[in-house]
């Protein structure tokens, strides 16, 4: 449930300090999206939080730090140029909206007809065409006991992306990895995300052949598979 203004007033300091996690953070951001007054309040507190960071203590990094950072930047290659971040920002909300619609007609490919509700199909296909993509699949994430813990969307386009939302109050906080697997179960690609207070999410422009992906596994910091989702086949 989206919190009201009085709850946001209470949450605002921790939200501004970057300390709010999971569902509370998502709820607060949802409220801010539709409440200019609360948004202004939080923005003012964010400026205070940022100013306080200037008081952080300095410390000499370990010997060789600078060389290691520069090596790493060199390995990463040239940073993305301006057009790409703009595109990526625009894509994620649009694609997320499309994904919600697509959840009802998962596993479609543009250009193929089915006998399902043609209205949804038209919306879904229009969304994909707007994005320039060719397929969008959605699946529920489950724990080993079959409990529903979230959802994952896999989009094939330029670039392709993955969006995942996971909620499990029993999950320890920390670093996790989402792994895309081929239909044979072999890893295709993976990316990390953080779980905090039982919640985590990932928006990831993945460089992988999405049509090869058959399932998704979420692994904890020890590499143990904790959740999985079977994606529908492409019809």
């Amino acid at each position: 449930m989206t919190p009201g203004c009085s709850e946001i007033e209470e949450l605002a300091p921790e939200l501004a300090l970057g300390l709010l996690a999971g569902g509370e953070r998502a709820g607060a951001l949802g409220h801010l999206a539709s409440c200019p007054a609360c948004r202004t309040t939080v923005e003012e507190l964010v400026r205070v939080a940022e100013a306080l960071l200037l008081l952080g203590p300095e410390a000499e990094p370990p010997v060789g730090f600078e060389a290691r950072v520069l090596d790493r930047l060199e390995r990463e290659g040239r940073p993305p140029q301006p057009a790409r971040p703009r595109w990526r920002r625009a894509l994620v909300p649009a694609a997320a909206a499309a994904a919600v619609a697509a959840a009802l007609v998962t596993g479609l490919v543009v250009g193929r007809s089915t006998e399902r509700d043609p209205r949804f199909e038209r919306q879904y296909i229009a969304a994909l065409r707007t994005l320039g993509g060719t397929s969008l699949r959605a699946a529920r994430l489950h724990d080993p006991g079959g409990r529903d813990v979230g959802e994952v969307f896999v989009y094939r386009g330029h670039p392709s992306w993955v969006f995942m939302d996971l909620s499990d109050p029993a999950a320890p906080s920390g670093g996790y990895r989402l792994e895309l697997q081929g239909r044979d179960g072999a890893p295709v690609a993976s990316d990390g995300f953080a779980m905090r207070n039982g919640s985590g999410y990932l928006g990831w422009p993945a460089r992988a052949e999405m049509d090869r992906v058959g399932s998704v596994v979420v692994r904890d910091a020890q590499g143990v598979g904790r959740y999985n989702a079977q994606l529908p086949g492409l019809s």
Partner: protein, 189 residues
């Protein structure tokens, strides 16, 4: 390059300029690493966080908006968020809250490369912080620089959760008003 303004270095970084990357890392590494070390309390994790901070700056330099935040606050915010994520998983032992709370008012080593503007901004914030009641200042420093949640602060301080939240909120609101009034006075001069 070494004398270039901070935002020019970020622009260079966004264009893939290796010299700009070297200059930016040299200029900010002590502050980024220092903040990370303060929050995570472990040199190895702090280096991981500091490296990742510069890697993210490299990847997202093109999205940096100088109207939104100074380069220092942009980088420090990235470092703080990464540190908070890391600390949930890896902090070997809780930082000493006494030492952390004292940081805000401690004398700082003077970096000859510091710009006058930066020092002025720092001293304004430091002055405003010093004017807060001690218990509010302490809660705010633990949260803002130490990355502690209100729940963690209530446990280490031995106060109810509501009290910890109230202290943080009251301190942030007072600080905002104080900094705004200082900014207004400077404008009026």
């Amino acid at each position: 390059m070494w004398d270039a303004p901070d935002d020019a270095l970020v622009a260079g970084l966004g264009a893939g300029d290796a010299d700009a990357a070297v200059a930016l890392v040299r200029r900010f590494q002590r502050r980024i690493y220092g903040l990370a070390l303060t929050i995570v309390g472990d040199p190895v994790t702090a280096e991981d966080v500091a490296q990742e901070t510069f890697a993210r700056a490299w990847r997202h330099a093109a999205a940096y908006d100088a109207r939104r935040a100074s380069v220092a606050t942009w980088l420090l915010t990235i470092a703080r968020n990464l540190s908070i994520d890391a600390v949930r998983l890896r902090r070997p032992e809780p930082l000493n809250p006494e030492a952390l709370a004292a940081l805000s008012l401690a004398d700082r080593a003077q970096d000859p490369a510091d710009q006058a503007v930066r020092e002025s901004e720092r001293s304004r914030v430091q002055g405003a912080l010093a004017r807060l009641p001690a218990e509010q200042r302490r809660a705010l420093v633990l949260a803002a620089i130490g990355g502690r949640t209100a729940k963690e602060i209530c446990e280490t301080e031995g106060v109810p959760l509501g009290t910890a939240k109230t202290r943080i909120r009251a301190a942030m609101i007072k600080l905002r008003v104080d900094l705004e009034s200082q900014g207004q006075e400077e404008t009026d001069r």
